[in-house]
């Protein structure tokens, strides 16, 4: 195992210590430097098999994990619900056991059910990386978000982060909450009361229903996607009303701090959570998040595989 990292799996950020989070970030920094070189590939995971088990559809996370594993020289196999026996009714347990019998060393899982990654990790000797489980967590997204903030601002402690939107259905919100609060950021969550239950205030963040009142103080605004597919119809009257109350438009942007940084985990509903011009503007970190996601996922794959031997590691 790599010094500072003993875990077989990465399931949630809630369970990570501050030091473990810092370990991922420092390792990701090394990989990001490697990604800037002409030859972007390292042999760290040569001979190791990484299976991307994406039971719920995903584009960017899946591509990011695939590419991260390839950059580490792992053998990579990806399968989704449609092309696997899960469609024929095979249980997650049996699918995973089969993958292990094929000697997959690491399984990256995306699943619609909260706890699916825990379920695998409790039953397999293979390393399990949670690539998003229901509304629970999306730990690599949380890590890449703090990596991106740290890269820009040089610190996390004391930074005021505003997380806006559909909190209740968002695994990104939860992973951000844990990573940011553990590293000392001041986090405020804003959204309609129907999508932002008051119990979040018990988890170390401030809860507010007033975006306009929260704009001025924010150093970073992270805008979450309204999740049409998770049935918000009984919680928000219309997307138009949501955008009017909680969308970051140009008028609201003008009232933000001059250097405010804008983030979004994607995919974006342009004109709903964020004005199109802002998503593409100079203060948007959206594409930095995507690039950093690759470095962070390389770091996570590397650490759970017990990797050694990358410059700066020991």
């Amino acid at each position: 195992m790599s010094p500072g990292w003993q875990r077989k799996d990465l399931l949630s950020l809630r369970e990570l210590s501050v030091d473990e989070i810092r370990k991922v970030l420092s390792t990701a920094k090394v990989f990001k430097a490697i990604l800037g070189r002409p030859i972007k590939k390292v042999p760290s995971l040569q001979g190791r098999t990484v299976v991307n088990l994406f039971i719920e559809p995903s584009t960017r996370t899946r591509i990011s994990f695939e590419l991260a594993a390839v950059r580490l020289s792992a053998d990579v196999v990806s399968l989704d619900k449609e092309s696997s026996s899960i469609r024929k009714g095979e249980s997650l347990q049996d699918t995973a056991k089969n993958l292990e019998a094929l000697q997959a060393g690491t399984i990256v899982i995306r699943h619609r059910s909260a706890g699916a990654a825990h379920f695998l990790a409790q039953r397999l000797k293979a390393s399990v990386i949670n690539a998003g489980d229901g509304a629970h967590e999306h730990p690599t997204q949380g890590l890449l978000d703090v990596f991106t903030i740290q890269e820009r601002l040089g610190k996390i402690e004391g930074v005021r982060v505003l997380i806006v939107g559909d909190i209740i259905h968002s695994r990104v919100a939860r992973s951000n909450l844990w990573a940011l609060t553990k590293l000392g950021a001041k986090v405020k969550m804003v959204g309609p009361s129907t999508l932002l239950p008051k119990e979040f205030a018990e988890l170390g963040v401030e809860v507010s229903y007033d975006l306009d009142g929260a704009l001025e103080e924010a150093d970073v605004i992270n805008l979450l996607r309204i999740q049409h597919e998770r049935q918000v119809h009984s919680r928000v009257p219309s997307i138009g009303e949501y955008a009017a109350l909680f969308g970051l438009n140009l008028e609201r942007f003008r009232r933000c701090k001059p250097g405010v940084l804008l983030m979004h985990p994607g995919p974006i509903n342009r004109g709903v959570e964020i004005a199109s011009e802002l998503a593409d503007g100079p203060q948007s970190l959206i594409l930095d998040q995507v690039t950093n996601g690759l470095a962070v996922r390389m770091a996570v794959l590397y650490l759970v595989s017990g990797g050694r031997g990358i410059g700066g590691d020991s």
Binding site: R14, S91, L92, Q93, H111, S113, A114, G115, A116, H118, F119, Q122, D133, G134, A135, H136, E137, I168, R171, R174, P197, E199, F200, E202, L203
Partner: protein, 429 residues
Amino acid sequence: MRDIFLQGGLVVDPATKREAKGDLLLRDGKVAEGKPAKDALVLRVDGLVVTPGLIDPHVHLREPGQSAKETIASGTAAAVAGGFTSVIAMPNTSPVADGPNTIAWMRQRAKETGVANVFPTGTISVGQKGEQLAPIGSLRQAGVVAITDDGHCVQNAELMRRALEYAHMFDLPVLDHCEDTSLSAGGVMNEGKWSRILGLPAWPAIAEEVIVARNVLLAEMTGARVVCQHMSSAGSIRILREARARGVPIEGEASPHHLSLTDELLEGYDTSFKMNPPLRTRADVEEVKRGVADGTIRFLATDHAPHCVYEKEVEFDEAPFGVVGLETALGIYLTELVHSGLLSLREMVVKMSSFPSDYFGLGRGTLATGAVGDVTVIDLERKWIVRKAEFASRGRNTPFEGRELRGRAVLTIVDGEIRHDLDGRAGLS
């Protein structure tokens, strides 16, 4: 049939106000007076408690149709192992027990294979669909002791009103699983801090309380006897307490898990902690216990709900609801209620035997001379560790695995026959 003579135990029989050290004679399957015959089976039970056989008003025996989960044979074996001589069986079998034929089949099957008394219930609505009344009169004639759509709360208040009015004609109790499904909407755990952390769909307490309140109003209006099953929330207890103080004919039922476990146990997404209604908060647990102690809740049930291991070994939100309880309930109730000082032993026996017998008209629940020879002998102080591998039930889905309990049934006698003998006292096992 040999006489059985239980000698030297503490006999606790609330119905005859008996609570003293003494002997108990069983002759021809009944409680008798006088001296045992020369060939009697004499069992010393010094230091043990002798009570009328325990009655569980809420059990899923799964037969017909789901015998991989449990059968009448294995379910009643679990019952006697846990000290229960009688169980009231829920009708959500396959086919659903919504007609007299299924009830007749179950009673026949219980006679042939059961080792405890089985009292079936029928459904409120056809197919438990909540749309049309089941043939409640025919079910009554076939021998059901209550009607219930357990697991599927009747959502339509008008149908529930008519069910209560109709059942009231026969003085037949109506048992309700209290869940407004528009509010619970696919939820799998209590709504609160832990559902927010775990990201699991939430089943809020209010979804239970709304229906408890509805049932109070309908019971009051119709005069029908209504039992709100497996009460899980503090709010439900408060509604019941207020209604009962006004004399509304409504009862509440507790289950072992709702008065001993809380929702943070779901942290590892272990489906052994998934049941319906879900585990709630410490405040809810305390209020359920208080409700049991102050008489708001008069039924101590199990909601024994066995499932196959492979059915529970799935993603948390995909797993079926339910936990087994027959073999752990007495230990939990003694540990949480009696040893903790909330309930006297006599009060526990009322709730677990004489009261359910009277309420459902089972003709048991006492050790009076001439009474049916259903007896449970309990070692109040026996400390033991729950081991699911040792269950008589086919179900292994217990939330209490590894837990140390204080108190256990050592001898269970049904109709004068020894059906469970933990220590081999009778030399039968």
